[in-house]
Amino acid sequence: MNDTASTAAPAGRIEIDARIFNPYSKDYIREPDPVWQTLIRDYPIAWHKDLQMWIVSTHELVDRMLKDNRFSPYFGHWEHAPPPKPEDQKNDFDKSYEVGFFAVPPKDHLRLRKLTMPAFSKPVMAKIDAKIRDLIVECFDSIGDAEEFDVYETLAAKIPVRAIARMVGVPTNMEDFFHDFAVNIIKATRINLGPKEREAAMQATLPGYAHFREMIAERRARPEGPGDDFFGSLISASDNGSQLTDYEILSVIFALITAGSDTATDLHTFLLQALLSHPDQLALLRQKPELMENAIIECLRWGSFGKMPFFRFATEDIEFAGQQIRKGQGIGVNIMAAWHDPAKWPEPTKLDITRRLDGNIVFGAGAHFCIGTYLVRVQGSLMLTEFMKRFPDATLADGDGRIDYEWTHHNARRINRLVVKTNVAPARKAA
C-alpha cells in the first residue's frame, strides 16, 4: 500500500480503507464477489485511504469514466509521478512511453489508432491466426495421453506470450527474454508498486527496446520493403502522408504486450475453470460452437480475473458522481466489479454463455478500448476448440482442479495451478 501521508478528509468525501477493499487479501483473491457487491452497493465511488486513490465500482460509473477523456491513463498525470526527465537523460522506455497510446492527447491518440489499424487488419490477422493455431496444437501435443495436466503450466504460461512473440517476429529461442520484457513493461508504471520497484522494472526493459529498435532499422533498410506482416504493416502504415516514428512503433509493441501477453495468461486458466466447473455450459458450447465468442466474453465477465483496478488520472479538477476529484489524483477504475454489477448483469455470479452481452465493458470502453481484443478472441477460441476436440470427457481434478493462486502477483488473481483430469486413458482402455 502507498504510505503517502493522508490529511483530514475534505467535507463530503466518501472514504474506505483496506478493511472494505484489500486487493492483496487471500480471501479477496479466492472469492472477490462479496467485496465487489459491497463496493457496488455502498461505495460506488470512494476515496481509498490506504491505496491513496479513488475507487469507482459500478457499471454505470466505470463506463462513464472510461469514455471521459478528462481521465487519462497516462502515468505522467499522476500527482506522485516522478518529474519529467531532461531530454538528454531520457531512455528508450521514456521516449516510447511518452508518444504512445496511453500518453498522448485524444487527437494524437486518434491519429495513432488510424495508423495502427492496418496492422490489425483482417489479412494481417489471418496470417497470425495460422501461426497461433500451430502453436496451440503444439502445446496440446505436449500433453499426449497424460491422465492429468496443469492448465497453467501447459497452456496459459506458454500460449499468450508466444503468440505475441510470433506476431512481432521474435524467434523461439528468445521467448523467455521477450516474456521478461513484457512483465517489466507492465510493472514499470504500476502505481501500486513502489518507486524503486518501478525503476528496476523500467531499467530491465531497456535490452528489449534495443532489440526492437534494431529490428525496425533492419526492416526499414530492406530493399524489397518492410514486409506485409504485423511488424512490416506498422512500418509502412500511412495516413495522409503521416507515418509512425520508431518510438511510436515501439509504443504500439508496448501496448500490444500490455494488453495481450501477461494479461492473456489468465484468459486460458479462467476459461477452462469457468467451463469445467459448469459442465452444462461446456456441453452447450460443444453443441453450439457458434456461441464461442459470446462464451469467451461471458467467461471473462464471470471469472473477472483482475486483482487491481485499471488506473486513470484526473487531468483537471472534476466533480464526478457527487465527489470532488482533484487534478493529478489516481483513480482505480474497478472494471471487474462493474462486470458483476447486478444492475447491469442480473444474477452476476451465474455463468450463462447465451447471456445478452450488449454494452459489456469486458474489453474496456472508449478511446482506450483493448487493442488486443481480436487476438484474445482468436486465442481463446482456438484453445477451447482444440481442448474440446481432444478431451471431450475432461473434468477438474478433485473437483476444483487443486486450484492455487500466485498470491503476490502485482495485477491479477493469477491462477498458477489448475489440474485437469483428461479421462482419455480410461476411455481408451475401456474401448
Binding site: 463506463d63 472510461l66 469514455k67 486518434l110 489508432r113 488510424k114 489499424m117 490489425f120 487488419s121 483482417k122 450488449d358 474489453f363 474496456g364 470502453a365 472508449g366 478511446a367 478500448f369 481484443t373 481480436y374
Partner: protein
Amino acid sequence: MSKWICVICGYIYDPAVGIPDAGIAAGTAFEDLPEDWICPECGSPKSAFEVYEA
C-alpha cells in the same frame, strides 16, 4: 452507400445490414445515424469512424 470502420476497435458499420437489434434499420446510411450515436463495440463517437475501403 459506404461501409464505415471504427478506428478504435475495428467495428465495421454496414448500412446494408444496419443494426436491427438496436433499432437501426437495414439501409440506414452512416451519415444518417444520430450525431450522438456511438460505436456498439467500444462506445467511441461517430468522429472515430472512417470510410472502410477494403
